[in-house]
Amino acid sequence: MTSHLLLDGVSKRFSNDHAPALDAVTLDVAAGSCTAILGPSGSGKSTILRVMAGLDPVTSGQVLVDGVDVAGLAPERRGMGMVFQRPLLFPHLSVLDNVAFADRVSGVPRAVARLNAGLYLDMVQLGGYGRRSVRELSGGQEQRVAIARALAARPRVLLLDEPFSALDPELRSDMHGLIDDIRSALSPTIVLVTHDRDEASAVADRIAVLHEGELLQHDTVDGVYTRPGSLRVARLMGGLNEVPGIIVDGAHLSALGRIRLDAGRDVSAGPATLVVRQEAVGVRALGAEEASDGVVGIVTGIRHLGPRRLLTIRFRAAGAAGTAGAADAELNAELPPGQCVEVGSRVAVTLPPAAVSTVRE
């Protein structure tokens, strides 16, 4: 079940479309790892899975499983397990026979196939549900059976196409737990397609950001969040802060002042946009006359995000006209519960160096 998957320059073009659905995508998924492909609707997420599964042929490029090109192989010979957003349980088969389907079509005797199927049902915590009709299951149970059915085929790579997006949030987090259980039990290679950033970070080791058929970045969860390769990735990952400025002597200059950049970042001089996650920005309310050694701004807006609040903070331009920091800057910061801040408050802002990154466009 643990195979290495490599897409090498895969392009997919549908005959009646002008733009390619996938544009020279190269994606390396290590054996036993879980990669989430994240992107908005129409970004080609589902197409990439269908190409991996062999349900759609590639226009150019290679799909390599353990180093062997499978592009010419029919879906049934690729060993790719697929779970769609709809569970698609075969309505004319019982729960157990659904899970036993892969074994049955590969010629395993019915009794053995059912015995195996029972083990996979146990794994998704539906032991004892085998004799039921699939119509008797709830939405979450159906998706569990669908996962058990895909696992029972002992796929080399498990492909999950937005499998939990039709479930309510509570069930969804249970399913994330189930994926963790499956990963620790079988360590399959998993490619998960989702439009939900939280889901991607909860389940996957690495995130591949896809936009209009182009793979923008493939990195660890932390990497994609805190070191986005482009403003587009930063925005797709929900980042709200973009402060234009220039890099001089290893520091970023803008209305925020001089922000020293961590070692290991690209610090060559030139214009660059500073990006920092709103969750990483530290905010401290200041008294009316209180001085601060940090950057001081004025709160211009507050929006509630569950228990937290999202502050919009404005910083007055400090530099002279024509130099770095000549324009006002704005930062968004998430404030944990407990602090009292109002619109118009003065706040001191700290930016942890590890969370700050720059992007050149």
Binding site: E76, M82, L88, H92, V105, Q125, L137, S138, L159, G177
Partner: protein
Amino acid sequence: MTIQARSVTADPQRADAGRLRLPGDPGPRLTDSRGAGRVGRVLSATLLAAWFLVPLVPLALWAFADRWSFPEVLPTVWGIDGLESSIAQGAVPAFWRSLLLGLVVAAIATPLGAAAARALTMGTVRWPRAVGLVLLAPVALPPFAAVMGLNVVLLRAYVPPLVGLVLVLVVIALPYTTFAMRVAYAAHDIRFEEEARTLGASPWTVLWRIHIPLVAPALARAAFLAFLVGWSDYIVTVIIGGGAVVTLPLVIASSAAGIGNDSAVAILSLTAILPPLTLLLLLGLAGRRSARPRRRRPDTDPVDPRTARSPRSRPHEPGATR
């Protein structure tokens, strides 16, 4: 922290709810009729049943009436003259011929119609609306006119009458099978088949194990319609068959054309009704069994894994329920 809540919400299934609505129970449906609506529904259903059954009563009476003079309400002499007479007219072999013809037409027109419908629905046909209209044409065309022209063509092409007959009947049956299957394929999710492929099933296995079972009810309906075309055809059998193939409708027609054959015609007519009626009943029973609505289990199922998750996921809430 959840102890108090537990005594209230834990396991709502076990609480003797009597006629209380359980969570997940949708209650009476909007489509269930009540009061005056119900009376109206029963009344219209009865009238509809009478509409179909009343014409059969005189047929049933005539079938065993050796004599039934005009003013009498019931036959004056009962007997089986009609039965003997219809057997003498060759009703038995005609019955088998008709049955065979209906089955052959169904066996050819159903898969063809299914294939056409699938192609039309899945978008593999260039101009689906135009092709759909062409397929519908045999229904719109006056059969007599079409068949007369076709007969000349078939004779010139030296097509044997029996083959020609089946060929034309299949063409006439195609619109029915195609449209019955188009409805089914419109609701059919191709991803069932794709899922089966990724599970290791070859296209052939997918056809037999997934595709056909999923569209089986529609296939049965389509086959029934195609069977009816073959079973009840008169014009095509007379003209294209050229008298070589004597089917039940031909025997009925010739019998009805004569005088004093009322009881034989009644017997033959009843015979003609039987096979379609039997098939219809079988179809209804099979449909009832496969489409019996099953209530989804409510999400608070006592053994639902959501409530019986491994302790790993909720280490701090040993008795937690929702």
